[in-house]
């Protein structure tokens, strides 16, 4: 872990140098759009807004940055500065070859938990550029709560990717490379790096404990009837899929004739089963999607944000995916070299889960 | 604990060379003999296969001094059933003979009256060419009581009261048993005995 401490306002300089020194060819970077935060793709370092830190740490969640670069199998090197969950998603996409690990430089920055785009835009002044746990509770009392996905997130502190940006007291940040690629990139910016302890174990444990408590308080689904009721408002727009960073199919099964029967096929089904609901396959769609993302879901909550009918999908996708990840002792997005659970196995395992 | 180097590995050959002992080595310890043995049912320690195993190992002393050696009733069940044709009853007789020889040489004390009985039995055969029950009993009891005829008669009478009487009542022993009966050519019988004993 080689790194250095910088002042927050020095961050834009660092990014600029990464571009100048060709450590990356372009950068995906959060920037302020009016009262809100969005991503931009920067080629020219001069276009980086100042102060960069306020956009980077801003507790706002629009889209998952990994979703932006998904499928970019380009030789140019892209740098992505984003929240840990987004970086995790990017790492899962690398395992799925939807990005090349050599041509993407992943920079994760501490997250405090985020508000939806809407909430942040509406209350930007009150929320500010960073929230600590006290502030989160204070705002919550006023009815401005962080996203459910963030409330139950145990991994808000930057610890994945190639480079991490940690917030340090006194308006400073600790920038450290945690992979060879990260250290190399940082070195190229002529920063003087030294060995740094970046663990923050105690802090992480506290966050995890709080998150677990929040998780326990969330209502849980326990029967298929409840699931039906939960998804009652679903209009089948499939925005949850489109905004999910780890849903990577070129053409979703549910866009194909078998998954989305129309016309004659639909009539045939109706004849067979006397009557069918339309649009059809709603439950199958969600259950299948849970299965498809159950090992790779990073719990970013993009699905919930995307739902036009405000179905609290965090309670469905990340909550269940977590159980599956538990049985495989798999943590998505932690290590790009760790194989996906479905392509590996132990000769003796899991028998207790089969019957 | 059995220390093989302290054992007599030649014991096996001794048995093999004794009439009846030739099939000793064929035993593969299947337990058939022991399981079917009516004696073993009464005397649980009696175990022909163990005697064979010990003989093979050369546990001469243990085998020869084993009192169980003398209780075989020669019913031949084991011999009939043995899959390897070990002929266990003949084999045990062979071992007993070795024991007797040792006893004769003063090397061993046999804690059984069976040799006396067998000797008396053969005597009757030698004399009369057939069994004379009374003569057998008198000779046997005499031997049993250390050669004293009187003591032997007393002991015999004592046993007769319950055991002999029962036999008598059941017709196993009749007045005929009181008097010897000879076969015609006793000299032929004598010749057989002479031949066997190598006289």
């Amino acid at each position: 872990m080689k790194g250095t401490e910088l002042k927050q306002e020095d961050l834009e300089g660092l990014f600029k140098r990464l571009l100048e020194k060709k450590a990356v060819d372009c950068l995906v970077l959060p920037h302020k759009v009016g009262n809100n935060v969005a991503y931009m793709l920067v080629k020219d370092g001069d276009k980086i807004e100042s102060p960069a830190a306020s956009a980077i740490f801003a507790p706002s969640f629009g889209v998952n940055a990994a979703n932006i670069v998904k499928g970019w199998t380009i030789p140019e090197r892209v740098g992505i500065v984003a929240k840990p969950c987004e970086i995790r998603a990017a790492i899962e996409l690398m395992k799925l070859k939807q990005m090349d690990k050599d041509s993407v430089l992943l920079i994760s920055a501490d997250c405090s938990g985020a508000f939806t785009n809407q909430d942040y835009a509406d209350h930007a002044g009150e929320i500010g550029d960073w929230v600590d746990s006290g502030k989160i509770n204070e705002l919550k009392d006023k009815g401005i709560a962080i996203r459910e996905a963030c409330a139950i997130c145990e991994n808000r502190l930057a610890d994945v990717g190639d480079i991490i940006i940690e917030r340090v007291d006194g308006g400073k940040v600790l920038v450290a490379g945690i992979t060879d690629m990260g250290v190399e990139a940082l070195s190229s910016t002529e920063l003087s790096l030294e060995d740094k302890d970046v663990e923050r174990q105690a802090e992480k444990e506290k966050i995890a404990a709080d998150a677990k408590k929040e998780k326990e308080e969330l209502p849980k689904l326990s029967s298929v009837e409840e699931l039906e009721e939960f998804l009652r408002d679903c209009i089948g727009c499939k925005n949850c899929r489109d905004m999910c960073p780890v849903c990577y199919c070129k053409e979703c099964f549910f866009e194909q004739p078998l998954g989305k029967p129309v016309g004659g096929d639909l009539l045939n089904l109706a004849e067979l089963r006397s009557a069918i609901g339309v649009p059809t396959n709603q439950l199958l769609y969600h259950l299948t999607r849970i299965y498809h993302v159950c090992t790779t879901c990073v719990g970013c909550g993009a699905c919930e944000d995307a739902c036009p009918k405000n179905i609290p999908l965090t309670r469905l996708y990340p909550m269940i995916a977590e159980k599956v990840q538990e049985i495989f002792e798999y943590e998505p997005g932690k290590d790009v070299e760790e194989p996906l659970p479905f392509i590996t196995y132990e000769e003796e395992e899991l028998e207790e889960h089969l019957r | 604990m059995i220390k093989t180097w302290e054992l007599d590995l030649n014991f096996r050959n001794e048995i093999l060379n004794e009439p009846g002992g030739a099939h000793l080595s064929a035993c593969f310890q299947c337990s058939t003999c022991t399981i079917g043995c009516p004696i073993a049912e009464i005397v649980p320690s009696y175990n022909p296969r163990k005697i064979i195993q010990m003989s093979l190992l050369g546990m001469r002393e243990e085998v020869l001094s084993n009192p169980d050696l003398w209780i075989c009733a020669i019913c031949q069940t084991c011999t009939a059933r043995c899959p390897q044709d070990v002929r266990i009853s003949d084999l045990l007789a062979a071992i007993r003979r070795i024991a007797e020889k040792d006893a004769e040489a003063g090397k061993l004390k046999i804690d059984s009256v069976r040799p006396l009985f067998e000797k008396a039995f053969l005597h009757q055969l030698e004399k009369y060419g057939r069994l004379f029950d009374m003569g057998l009993a008198m000779e046997f009891y005499k031997g049993k009581e250390g050669g004293s005829f009187i003591k032997g008669q007393l002991a015999m009478m004592k046993d007769f009261k319950d055991f002999g009487m029962r036999m008598f009542k059941k017709g196993k022993m009749g007045p005929k048993a009181m008097f010897p009966e000879k076969v015609k050519k006793t000299e032929e019988i004598k010749k057989i005995f002479e031949k066997v004993e190598g006289k």
């Binding site: 849980k220 689904l221 326990s222 029967s223 298929v224 009837e225 409840e226 699931l227 039906e228 099964f253 089963r273 009557a275 069918i276 609901g277 059809t280 396959n281 709603q282 439950l283 199958l284 259950l287 299948t288 849970i290 299965y291 159950c294 090992t295 909550m319 269940i320 159980k323 599956v324 049985i327 495989f328 659970p341 479905f342 392509i343 196995y345 000769e347 003796e348 395992e349 899991l350 028998e351 889960h353 089969l354 019957r355 | -």
Partner: protein, 142 residues
């Protein structure tokens, strides 16, 4: 355990590997080993071909139980198909558990010579599922 529901005959769909469980079911047949008539077997070449979507689909169609039969670990005709299947089934059942549907899915390793095991599992499954009652998704308009 709840008592079996009166007169309820469950519908169980059995996905079986061609090389082991399917042959085991055949053996149950040739040895006339009877079992409750609740299962409808679908032959796959390997338990590795089992797409969990198949299971989700039949459960939503109203099947009361789903059985998946594969080769014993280490004996897969295709070397490791059943190892993959085991992971998929474990994941699927973990998901179904959240909705109380996991007890309707059972997976067993049954070799071609285990006709009896096949019959036994079918019997047990029919009994277990009778106790669970019909799939709540039965006759729903989905």
């Amino acid at each position: 355990m709840e008592e079996a529901k009166e007169g309820f005959e469950p519908k169980i769909i059995g996905f079986t590997c061609n090389w082991c469980t399917y042959a085991g079911a055949d053996l149950a047949g040739t040895s006339r080993k009877k079992y409750p008539p609740n299962v409808r077997i679908i032959r796959l070449m390997c338990s590795g071909r089992l797409d969990p979507m198949f299971v989700l689909k039949v459960l939503l169609n109203g099947a009361d139980g789903v059985f998946i039969g594969g080769c014993h670990p280490g004996e897969c005709h295709y070397i490791k198909g059943n190892f993959y299947a085991r992971r998929r089934i474990a994941a699927l059942r973990t998901i179904l558990k959240q909705f109380g549907l996991d007890n309707r899915v059972r997976s067993e390793w049954i070799s071609a010579s285990e006709g009896d095991k096949f019959a036994r599992v079918m019997k047990e499954m029919a009994e277990d599922i009778k106790k669970l009652g019909p799939n709540p998704m039965r006759d729903k308009i989905l």
